[in-house]
């Protein structure tokens, strides 16, 4: 460790979980002022490497160091003391506590045994300001929405004035404007000499933020290379181990059929007179910044929320708002934006997670037919290329992308013909994304209606036949066919009222 620039290092690190080797013989070094991207498919071992460096997990063999100190036997708190600050992939905030309290979680400023509330607030404001964010430090974090929460986490990490800042997919729930904010903050911090490890599945973002990238595959380091010189194609090939398949065919052919589902004048807390038409045979993209009401729109359409005003028609018939079960019976399906919290039942098998949307289909006179369950699940597992050891493997152990595909498979099993997909590609690796795009396209070709909500405008622009832009709970623009162009969509979404 002669080189004083080295902030963190792993030598021949191996980490096993029951049944998986998450890291295998990994050598990894990161230096002062460097922003290092970690790239790899879901389950490649990125988060594990990060947990090792933050003291949340320990290597089975090999050594890890931070600023020359071996980490063996140290806990998260000790490692934080060495100057490591981490933003984990899963949000780690306490929802009912205020922004200020969360910023100093476990290390509240104290004077004479009591928490010094005034100092805490002041320092909280300061910490937020450091990354250019201004939030009410007294509001409970769960009133913030996921963007705000993510920014609080970043502010918390940066506020510790770390030597090493680790960000595990900090932007997966953010849209363009907020991503910009995060990138600026990270660059700003790096310029002050902090080493940064940055995980993301979005290549364009990596190019903006990182100097170098380490590609991880199946727990091994494939290569570390400067971001500037490598092409995306090259990097993706390294991640996958093979050349990537072609992107989903761009159809760009808005459907001319009559809308299967339409909304007029929906009003709720976040919707302010939304009109929307969903047509069979096309992929309808919904773009918009955070909080523009995309999730609410889907929830209202499928009957999960009851809007205060407005009308929803399904195949021309007015439907009772809020009748979720009836809407499902009539062919709607929704995949929620938070897969882990709202999508999967972790302890149940992949098969049961799929057929759960319609158990009658695999029952005979009220009795579940095990073989029918297996057959139905296997068909969909094959069709969507879900990687699982057995159909009965608990879904909680699958990688995010595969979980997402299983949640999607649910509605194929139920035979739904209107699919509302809320951020189906969030936190999903390139390969799985491609497969999901292909599925969406196939469904549209099959005459079904697909509604695709995504915060990644790039992918909307790439694969949608028609895009509706939401702003302030209203549809402000619609692009179809060749009008669809990345910059135009971006501009429309971000434009001020």
């Amino acid at each position: 460790m002669s080189n004083t620039d080295v902030v963190a290092e792993v030598r021949a690190g191996t980490k096993r979980y029951p049944g998986v080797t998450a890291l295998s013989d990994v050598d990894f070094t990161v230096r002062r002022g460097e922003v290092r991207a970690l790239l790899g498919k879901n389950g490649a071992g990125k988060s594990t490497l990060i947990k090792v460096l933050s003291g949340a997990e320990h290597l089975d063999s090999g050594e890890a160091f931070v600023r020359g100190r071996p980490l063996a036997g140290l806990g998260t708190r000790d490692v934080a003391g060495l100057g490591v600050a981490t933003v984990y992939q899963e949000l780690s905030l306490v929802p009912d506590m205020t922004v200020a309290e969360n910023l100093f979680l476990g290390a509240w400023p104290r004077s004479r045994g009591a928490i010094d509330l005034r100092r805490m607030r002041a320092e909280a404001r300061e910490a937020m300001a450091r990354i250019g964010v201004h939030l009410d430090v007294d509001s409970p974090v769960d009133s913030l929405g996921s963007a705000g929460q993510q920014l609080v986490e970043i502010a918390r990490a940066v506020g510790q004035r770390p030597a090493l800042l680790i960000l595990d997919e900090p932007t997966s729930s953010l849209a363009a404007a907020e991503v910009r904010q995060v990138i600026d903050a990270v660059r700003h911090v790096a310029e002050q000499g902090v080493a940064v490890i940055y995980v993301s599945h979005r290549m364009d973002e990596i190019r903006q933020v990182a100097d170098t990238a380490t590609v991880v595959r199946d727990g091994r380091i494939v290569e570390t290379l400067p971001v500037g010189t490598a092409s995306t194609q090259e990097i993706v090939t390294m991640m996958l181990g093979t050349a990537p398949d072609a992107l989903a065919p761009r159809a760009r052919r808005p459907s001319a059929e009559r809308p299967v589902l339409s909304a007029r004048g929906l009003v709720s807390e976040k919707l302010h007179g939304l009109d929307l038409d969903v047509r069979p045979g096309e992929i309808l993209g919904i773009a918009g910044v955070l909080g523009s009401g995309r999730t609410e729109a889907l929830r209202a359409l499928v009957g999960l929320d009851r809007p205060d005003a407005g009308e929803i028609r399904l195949r021309g018939e007015a439907v009772r708002p809020g009748a979720f079960a009836a809407m499902l019976r009539r062919g709607l399906g929704i995949t929620p934006e938070n897969r882990r919290r709202q999508g999967i039942v972790p302890l149940l098998g992949v098969d049961e997670n799929i057929v759960i949307s319609d158990l009658r289909r695999v029952s005979r006179s009220g009795v579940l037919d095990r073989r029918a369950v297996r057959r139905a699940a296997q068909t969909l597992i094959d069709r969507l290329a879900i990687k699982t050891a057995r159909p009965g493997t608990p879904i909680g152990t699958l990688s995010g992308g595969n979980q997402q595909k299983a949640v999607l498979a649910r509605w194929l099993h139920a035979g739904s013909d209107v699919l509302l997909l809320d951020e189906p590609t969030r936190g999903v690796d390139v390969e799985a994304k491609r497969q999901i795009y292909h599925q969406m396209r196939e469904l549209a070709d099959d005459g079904r209606a697909v509604v695709f909500v995504s915060s990644e405008v790039e992918e909307l622009a790439d694969i949608c036949d028609r895009i509706v832009v939401l702003r302030g709970g209203r549809a402000v623009a619609e692009l179809s066919g060749d009008e669809i162009e990345l910059n135009r969509v971006l501009a429309l979404a971000i434009a001020e009222e």
Partner: protein, 336 residues
């Protein structure tokens, strides 16, 4: 809230491990461990407790097992769904009182009185389930209300006195045996079969597991979570009523003060059987073993002449010990 709840198993240093992948193996392991414990217990009691091995005593054990077992099947599903029902003891006592009052004082025809008991049990349970499902009142609180209210009502209606039942053929059968096997044990066995089937082979049963594993996901997948919850508590209510009928038959009367603390025996049997109070996993086979374990211990302690008060100490130690061993077993399995 929402953002928070770590779905996984609660604690310990390795939160992820106990979870999914091993779920099923761990379950099996736990059952094997329990079978081992029961065999040891059986051998020890056979050697030390005079009269333990006799046929009559084994039949008596079967009869006693039904006291806990009948309700324990329904409780297993309640706990798998992440809920709890602490109203069992009072519900059983209340049902026995209702039968005696209805068929006696209120002159309801006996068959109708039996149906009334079952219907009331079902409705009371469904009521608690409704409070949980519709208004989100924690099931601990909803059933605590029943716990207090039903005990009070049962005692109030009877002034604390047993209400005699006119003997009749039906009661004699309930209190007696069929082909040498105590009727309660037969009912318990039949219900076990029904619940085993329901839990594993019906849409309802699997939905219970889904709701316990992740209620929000289950709801978004189209499962009527509220309906499931109402049915769950209606079922424990119904089976508590059945237990009440068996009790009334056995005692020849309705007793408002009976079955004190039964809820804890039932919950203990389920938890010893490896069903997690966190919801999402559990098995009826485990509960069956848990019931056997608890019943053997109860019987053995009496036959060994252990001080009555000290029996409670033993029971407390054993409940914690059994759950601890489950946990240790799954940890060992979880280690690399």
């Amino acid at each position: 809230m929402s953002t928070t709840t770590p779905t996984g198993p609660p604690v310990a240093s390795t939160p992820a491990r106990a979870g999914g992948r091993l779920g099923r193996n761990t379950q099996r392991l736990n059952e094997i461990g329990l079978i081992g414990a029961i065999v040891v217990l059986f051998v020890v009691l056979a050697a030390t407790a005079p009269g333990f091995l006799t046929v009559t005593n084994q039949l008596a054990i079967l009869r006693d097992a039904a006291t806990v077992g009948v309700v324990a099947w329904a409780m297993t599903l309640v706990i798998v769904a992440g809920e709890i029902d602490i109203s069992i003891g009072p519900a059983v006592a209340f049902s026995s009182v209702l039968l005696a009052k209805a068929s006696g004082e209120w002159q309801v025809p006996f068959a109708l009185a039996v149906l009334l008991c079952l219907a009331v049990g079902l409705l009371l349970g469904a009521g608690a389930g409704f409070l949980r499902a519709r208004w989100g009142i924690p099931s601990f609180v909803a059933t605590l209300g029943l716990w207090s209210g039903l005990r009070g009502l049962a005692q109030y209606m009877t002034d604390g006195l047993p209400v005699p039942l006119e003997p009749n053929g039906f009661l004699d059968v309930l209190a007696g045996s069929i082909a040498g096997i105590p009727t309660p044990a037969i009912i318990m066995a039949v219900l076990f079969g029904v619940f085993l089937f329901v839990a594993n082979r019906t849409a309802y049963g699997r939905s219970v597991f889904a709701v316990g594993g992740n209620a929000e996901a289950a709801r978004l997948a189209g499962i009527s979570v509220a309906r499931i919850r109402v049915i769950l508590f209606a079922t424990t209510g119904l089976l508590a009523a059945v237990s009440g009928l068996l009790l009334a038959a056995r005692l020849g009367s309705g007793n408002g003060g009976a079955s004190v603390g039964l809820e804890f025996d039932v919950i203990a049997a389920v938890v010893i059987g490896g069903t997690s109070l966190a919801g999402g996993k559990g098995s009826l086979l485990g509960t069956l073993l848990g019931v056997a374990f608890i019943t053997f211990i109860g019987n053995g302690l009496v036959l060994l002449g252990v001080n009555a008060f000290f029996q409670d100490v033993v029971r407390g130690v054993i409940i914690v010990g059994a759950v601890l061993i489950n946990v240790l077993l799954s940890h060992r399995k979880g280690a690399p």
